[in-house]
Symmetry: C2
Subunit: 252 residues, 2 copies
């Protein structure tokens, strides 16, 4: 039995999320259906992160096991051929080292949340950004964000459906940067709570539009109460960009 | 009568191009229908460039005339409200100076053509890039491109349907740059022939994949024969980014 690891890109619009569900097309189910169409083994696919409905990925990682040996490049070509015309693409396939698990071996996950901050709605990047027409002060958001860096109880930024045993997480990076009309919020951590990035972005937005003071995210976190923080930002602004592993894969 | 100028973004997919036609949704027709839904004047809209079916814009410019005076920001809001959910957005509205004409006053037009150069098909940017799986040498393309700069007879890069009186044009800039998996070809000129940018990109691609020598674009141009150059690159990689005018508008 050989384990393979995949690096994936997908457009979350039109998917009910990563995870296979009774109804609706999932990314996991789409990959498994593509596999079943060219191998009788019909392996299941395990992802590094269960992205929600509407959330995109440019660097999701997954693994699967196959009895028959496949050259990684052949597996990549077969998968992409059978994924058309679905908006899922396999960017890399590699042989996984012994003991590799897409979810449990992951060292770090990196997300970017993109806000289109201009009056005109997005026409070219519709579905890939959150449209916020009122001006946001990205520097103010960045300064406010730094209070959340480190090991904290993130109860205030956790969805009521979150299944994690503990709300204590270590946030390694939270960067807010303006690039023209676009504001990018980057977040890196070993793992995140359900809706954590989107709830942080919804909270920082209130700071950026001057509705809340610069210490609002810190005060919201200290309250350990979801109601103390801002609303959840919409899923379509969020992209899982990268998952890192101990052996340095993926090398980009 | 007041003339207004608009800066527009649109997704060319699903449009038969800029120009109003007997069948199919055009960008021009979509704008005129939006205007007719909130003003009885029903003005026609004149664009700086007639982008083809599938070609996008992030900075197309157009003008229109109205008897009733509108504050530019009110006109912008009304237009965007009535353009939903079409993939056309008005980014700016301004009062046009006396004698302004979106097409005839334009000093320079700037296009970018984006190639996604990787094995995996694009999932997130599908419809916004040309997918070329085989590796391209962007530096080689850039060097080859420089032979086309300046005033030349571009007959070899002109569509058979082109209506321009002369094929002599002055190409001010033709830049090829790799940014990771993306190759961007930027072209600037006072005006372009029909399919000129797409035919140049199709020609440079043959140089990038080593099928043709580095002097191929120059030799193709010298032949003054469409059959001497490469094939036409697909429309969905092309974006009209910017149109410049003598008074310095738009200021970005």
């Amino acid at each position: 039995m050989q384990r393979y690891r995949l690096r994936l890109e997908y457009d979350g619009c039109g998917f009910c999320g990563w995870q296979r569900q009774a109804e609706g097309a999932s990314v996991q189910g789409t990959l498994e259906a593509a596999l079943a169409s060219f191998t009788p083994e019909a392996p299941s696919v395990t992802g590094a992160g269960r992205t929600d409905a509407g959330v995109h990925a440019s660097g999701q990682v997954a693994h699967l096991d196959l009895e028959r040996f496949w050259l990684p490049e052949r597996l990549l070509a077969a998968l992409n051929a059978h994924l058309r015309p679905r908006r899922v693409a396999v960017r890399d396939v590699g042989l996984a080292p012994t003991g590799f698990h897409a979810r449990f071996s992951a060292l770090r996950r990196s997300y970017v949340f993109r806000i289109m901050n201009r009056r005109a709605p997005p026409a070219l990047e519709r579905g890939l950004v959150w449209h916020v027409p009122a001006p946001l002060d990205a520097e103010r958001m960045h300064v406010a964000a730094q209070a959340l860096i480190g090991r904290h109880d993130f109860t205030s930024f956790r969805s009521s459906e979150c299944q994690a045993l503990s709300a204590v997480k270590t946030l390694d990076l939270l960067h807010v940067r303006r690039r023209g009309e676009l504001i990018e919020v980057r977040a890196t951590a070993r793992s995140f709570l359900h809706h954590q990035v989107r709830n942080i972005v919804g909270t920082l937005k209130l700071v950026g539009e001057m509705k809340m003071a610069i210490d609002f995210p810190l005060a919201a976190m200290a309250a350990r109460d979801r109601a103390a923080a801002g609303p959840t930002a919409p899923p379509h602004g969020l992209v899982l960009e990268r998952v890192d592993y101990p052996d340095g894969w993926p090398r980009l």
